[in-house]
């Protein structure tokens, strides 16, 4: 969060505001603490096997980690997520750029994109499982196909919003193609790539788990299905929290630093 201050030269410069805090913690961390406190209160008020306390769940997480199941399942889910994410981003960005630049291709493929955006994810998974069997390839392909239209749409809109003014600037100064790509095209595209990555990743996390639940030989979704059969809510909470921790680590150690670096010029404006 920042505000603009005028300099003596008439320019504006950003000034960082002091981060707001609650109980001495940044607001984001304080909200998580509040959530755990609320959970503990509910678990105390309604003691039941179906509402374990945070401490019991942490204990379960520890034992699942020690016996190796949690890490093994997490590894399978993360590798499926990573492969689907990378393939969908690379393919989706290429197709999105092509559609944004070529009106004929855009008109030709836009119906496919609409279908892809609206066919329920579970339908694609079921069809691919029937065609290809309950295989790793079918699962990853199903996840990729679900995410692909989201990436294509975001990138296509981004390319269509490119400013022609900057193309004129490049032409006037005879900027070589490589330099134009690096200094004009890529910076305009990056906000859309990051938006596609963020929304796409949120989608993939969820879809991978559902597809694992539907048919796989391991992974968080598969294990949650097993816990469901035994009404083991403690195990479900333990896996969910472990999963949430991974999401937060990725958010704060990867996504936000990358966004901060790439979009620094935009962040300073707000």
């Amino acid at each position: 969060m920042s505000e603009q201050t005028a300099s003596p030269h008439g320019a504006t410069r950003p000034r960082r505001m002091a981060g707001q805090r609650l109980f001495g913690l940044p607001l984001e961390a304080a909200s998580l603490v509040l959530l755990v406190v609320f959970w503990q209160i509910v678990a105390t008020l309604f003691p039941s096997r179906l509402m374990p306390s945070p401490l019991v769940v942490v204990g379960e997480m520890w034992s699942l980690t020690v016996d190796g199941r949690l890490l093994s399942d997490m590894g399978k889910t993360l590798s499926r997520t990573a492969i689907s994410f990378v393939v969908a981003m690379v393919l989706g960005t290429a197709i999105g750029i092509a559609m944004g630049r070529n009106r004929v291709l855009d008109r030709l493929l836009s119906s496919w994109v609409v279908i892809g955006l609206n066919v329920p994810a579970i339908v694609i998974a079921v069809i691919l499982y029937i065609w290809l069997g309950l295989t790793e390839f079918a699962l990853i392909l199903a996840v990729t196909l679900n995410k692909l239209p989201v990436v294509v749409t975001t990138i296509r809109e981004g390319v269509m919003s490119f400013s022609r003014d900057y193309d004129e600037l490049a032409l006037a100064f005879r900027m070589p193609a490589g330099r134009r790509l690096r200094l004009i095209t890529t910076p305009q595209l990056m906000p859309f790539v990051l938006a596609a990555a963020r929304t796409g990743l949120a989608l993939i996390w969820k879809i991978v788990l559902v597809f694992e639940l539907l048919g796989s030989d391991g992974g968080i979704g598969f294990r949650i299905q097993t816990f469901f059969q035994f009404f083991d809510i403690t195990g479900i909470f333990a896996y969910t929290i472990a999963f949430i921790i991974v999401v937060f680590v990725f958010e704060y150690l990867v996504l936000r630093p990358v966004e901060g670096r790439v979009l620094r010029w935009r962040a300073d404006r707000s």
Partner: protein, 246 residues
């Protein structure tokens, strides 16, 4: 010896569509080396289009535009200052200058910013600079390619007059130092009177030269009286062109 090139325009036809009359038809203009020529005319007459043709941004025309005998599209890049500053918002002032020419070092870019009075703002992003400062960066960028030809498209539009005088004096210094051939597009006779050696008044469609006024008194020797005389002369021609039947 003049450093700027001889500029020759011979445009047989320039049209945007076949349904309308061409914007330019058998249009000719010659600009002497290292002279500053103002293209004056009402908004929409085609002044900016002419500049885009000379810069090689728009190559869809019939005819020949030559810079020292070399076709414009094959000539080294001109220094171009657009109506808006047109800085790349994701690059700092320094990097905006370096963006248009790979060989420009950071030190050279900083020196260019210093020459337009922006020392200390090298790492500022465009949105952190005022409108006037952004125009100065655009000027520094245009001169950073060591242009022999400088193309200025309404470089003072939407700036208040005190700021315009400020930037005009910077521009005059840079022109005196680099001695490029300059085409200045403006709709204000005042800008032409301060910066140019000659004003070409444009009107109608297809565009025609309704007057070609050489000012006589050198730029640096002009008194306020000279400036008023030149402005009056240009505005008189413009008024005549506006009232005359096309």
């Amino acid at each position: 010896m003049a450093r700027g090139p001889q500029l020759s325009l011979a445009i047989r036809a320039k049209r945007f569509d076949t349904a309308h009359a061409p914007l330019f038809s058998d249009f000719r203009l010659d600009v002497a080396p290292s002279s500053v020529v103002a293209l004056v005319g009402p908004s929409g007459v085609g002044k900016s289009t002419l500049l885009r043709l000379v810069a090689g941004i728009d190559t869809a025309y019939e005819g020949r535009i030559a810079i020292d005998g070399v076709p414009a599209a094959e000539a080294p890049p001109a220094g171009f200052v657009f109506q808006d500053a047109r800085l790349l918002p994701w690059l700092s002032a320094r990097e905006n200058i370096r963006a248009v020419r790979a060989a420009t070092t950071a030190a050279e870019a900083d020196a260019a910013l210093g020459r337009v009075g922006l020392g200390g703002f090298e790492t500022a992003f465009p949105h952190q600079l005022s409108g006037g400062m952004q125009r100065r960066v655009a000027l520094a960028r245009a001169f950073s390619v060591n242009p022999r030809l400088l193309l200025l498209d309404e470089p003072f539009v939407s700036l208040d007059r005190s700021l315009v005088r400020d930037i005009q004096s910077v521009l005059k210094e840079l022109i005196a130092t680099h001695e490029p051939t300059v085409l200045l597009v403006t709709h204000l006779a005042e800008d032409a009177a301060v910066l140019a050696d000659r004003a070409v008044v444009l009107a109608d469609r297809p565009v025609r030269v309704v007057a070609d006024v050489t000012f006589g008194v050198p730029r640096d020797a002009r008194t306020p009286t000279d400036l008023v005389r030149i402005v009056t002369e240009i505005e008189g021609v413009q008024a005549g062109a506006a009232s005359a039947p096309a």
